[in-house]
Symmetry: C3
Subunit: 341 residues, 3 copies
């Protein structure tokens, strides 16, 4: 049961409505008028909840779950307990996402500007904005409609955000232009100076960073992530990129459309991540390296050379994933042989 102190729920919805909204099919003979109030994990769901099975690891939990209905792949539906209506679909997690959005529809923030916010008179703030306590909005800032700037966030001079953006508490934005529907979480730093210097005869010579950060539409940036601005030229994050917590994006990096960067990824200066590429948690891409369109890199890996579009890579240095596992097997065989002799 979702905690109603924290979340406001829509519904209830009957099975027919949920099936229509998610594309899942109730098994034959199901009571499509049956009403549901929430989504919940298999372990805690009750008869009025809808659950999901998207990982065989949880098959046992599925078989004993009290959930009234459950999104499940076709091949596993017959493992459902008698009390559960299987909702058959190819992508149970996608169906869950769609159902959750029915029960918890997103809504514009409640408008209002705190009288403790520090807003420069030259800033332009679109209608419907929510500006919380202690926010700083500097000269020349332009905010689109229905933006939500949470407590203590600092927006430096002349930056621009489009409509329906969210800036989390304590985030800091400078030297950046940001599109529509961008979610910037708590503690994010955008536009900081890059780690750039040349080592000369008298030590490190800092290079002024005179580039910007350009962020497209529908981008998400997770908590405490850092995005440096470019040296000469810009750092760019394209439409629909999804970036998790504690990711580090250095100066002049390009992140492609719909690219997915998991937690604690690091992209070194001038690296490029292609459209729809996916990089696993804690992995890194070296300076000036290009990751091709749709390429996938596993966790804790390091791309030290350009990686081809569509490939899947693992390891440090990152190599094609098949080669990685073959090498692991070869090492294990070697070890066995050396024990025998």
């Amino acid at each position: 049961m979702t905690d109603v102190q924290f979340f406001t729920r829509a519904g209830p919805f009957d099975l027919a409505t949920i099936a229509e909204g998610t594309g899942a099919a109730p098994i034959e003979g199901a009571d499509t008028a049956r009403s549901f109030v929430d989504v919940a994990p298999l372990e805690t769901a009750g008869p009025d909840d809808i659950s999901f099975l998207d990982n065989k690891k949880y098959l046992e939990a599925f078989e004993v779950s009290r959930a009234g209905a459950c999104f499940v792949e076709p091949g596993l539906a017959d493992r459902a307990p008698a009390s559960m209506t299987p909702l058959v679909c190819d992508q149970p997690y996608l169906a869950l996402a769609l159902a959750t959005r029915m029960f918890y529809p997103s809504s514009a923030p409640e408008p209002g500007v705190s009288d403790t916010a520090h807003i420069d008179p030259s800033a332009v703030i679109g209608e419907g904005a929510r500006i919380e306590h202690g926010v700083v909005i500097s000269a020349g800032v332009q905010l689109g409609k229905r933006c939500h700037v949470a407590a203590g966030a600092v927006l430096y001079e002349n930056i621009r955000l489009g409509d329906d953006c969210h800036v989390g508490a304590g985030a800091t934005l400078m030297y950046c232009l940001i599109g529509d529907r961008v979610w910037i979480d708590t503690g994010v730093r955008v536009g900081t100076q890059g780690f750039g210097f040349a080592v000369g005869p008298k030590g490190a010579v800092r290079i002024p960073h005179t580039g910007r950060v350009l962020i497209g539409n529908d981008v998400e940036i997770g908590a405490n992530t850092t995005v440096d601005r470019g040296t000469a030229g810009d750092t760019e994050i394209s439409d629909g990129a999804m970036i998790d917590n504690q990711v580090q994006i250095a100066h002049n990096v390009k992140v492609g459309r719909g690219a997915i960067l998991a937690g604690q990824v690091g992209l070194a200066g001038s690296s490029q991540v292609g459209d729809y590429a996916m990089i696993g948690g804690k992995s890194g891409v070296a300076n000036h390296i290009k990751i091709g369109t749709g390429a996938k890199i596993g966790a804790l890996s390091g791309a030290a050379t350009d990686l081809e579009a569509g490939g899947t890579y693992l390891g440090q240095p990152a190599i094609p994933i098949k080669d990685f596992w073959r090498q692991q097997a070869a090492i294990r065989r070697l070890l066995k042989q050396s024990k025998r002799t």
Copy 2:
């Protein structure tokens, strides 16, 4: 010498009192009435200070240290210089911890609520609280007794903290229930939305995160660590868990009692860390993976499969540590052979 500008010291204490408080035994014939004023490292300790030797790497420093007394294992006590009284014990670092707590006892924060804090009238704040400048405490928040909320921290609607909690400067808490004596350091983010979406035919479908973060008693969370709330269901951190700086804890993770997570560890979605497990710096645990009770994972490692209780693991992918070192040795032998031929 500890900098008295920053720290207030109790004492002095005589050797007998220190021995009693720490369980360490002065060597025979020691002057138990001798008085000590502070703890200090071997290199900088003087005749009135107590030091410690807990790593043989520092044996040389021990032999020339000017410390008046020193916690040391039984087998190394006879290496002490003449001016030093060895305080013999099995765990010198534990003895140091206990002695340091004698000289620097913890105390409740000085109560007081800044008139620049933004506190919603519906919030309930226990007695003895310290609320610093610019703090935001939203509607429905409940704080126990003697909580210390440092400058600029933001507590969102309806969260609860027990007694004697500390919330560091600039930390952000939302969608969470927190026990007693929990230390949350500067810049921590608790309750942020997880990195959750399903990839459908029209691109990524964000899933609303309607779970919470549940934190037990006596938990410590280091600076700039991030803890996402659950998708459906909660993220949970159990009693006594110790979490270092810049750790990333994803949605629906379970961290067991007394588990220890070193700096920059990352726990992916729905992973589980057993009670008293220890994870070394920069290591990761993959989605849905379970780490058994008391298991240990070395640094820079990646748990890609469930790991058994009590085992010790290293590598990416993490394997039993003996196997890891055997593989390393096998590779070195292989290299030697290939040089010979």
Copy 3:
């Protein structure tokens, strides 16, 4: 073209002035009176811009660039297009840094103290300071001349900073003494308690951290980096150290002069990084390990043993880089052989 909304440019400068300021030599017959207005990357530079080529990966871009002049190594100058004046030098990136500093000279912050800053009457603030909205400066703090403390930063009791320091928005400083010309970026945490406890029979015993953080002159600390104070004894960062974003520096670490720590590096307790050593992104150094003067560690590596001065290391555990690549080659050969048989 640099965005003039964000950056104020000096100049224009003629080629002779630029050559003198950077040490680069225009090729024979170049028009030294030709005037330039900005620096720019090869792809976007126009006839009035100066660009640079410091990586052969960009040779094609160089050959078709519209840049009016370009810093380039001697051997590649003849690849320049006809419209471009090559500015020949040994270190094109160093020349770029120097030229960029001509066009974008650093200047002292505009002085001024926000009336929303919370400044204790006992704090001493040098002339020319810029203190932004919501800053907290506690009792006994001493700030040198021309310091810039950005919005929402929190400076705790009795800390000291020298002249010309910058403290980024939302940064938190405690228990520290800081030199001149130190740049502390947004969200940095300095002086937090270390991750220190001894595991006794009744569980973890926290050790009070009574040391400080000592930071020299000309140090740079990147966004969201964390620096713990010492246990007994201090954490130290020496003159000229350059530290990138999201680096974790544990208690009692020593970072040598001019050392370079790339993004997401982690230094465990009591580790020591020698003068001018360089550590690549995402690498770690284990507890009590010493990295020699000028040693270099590649990315995603882990120093588990002391590493010699001047060496270059890679891998987890980090080994001499030649050995690392030899081992990789040996594994590949092994794999080929096993396929054959």
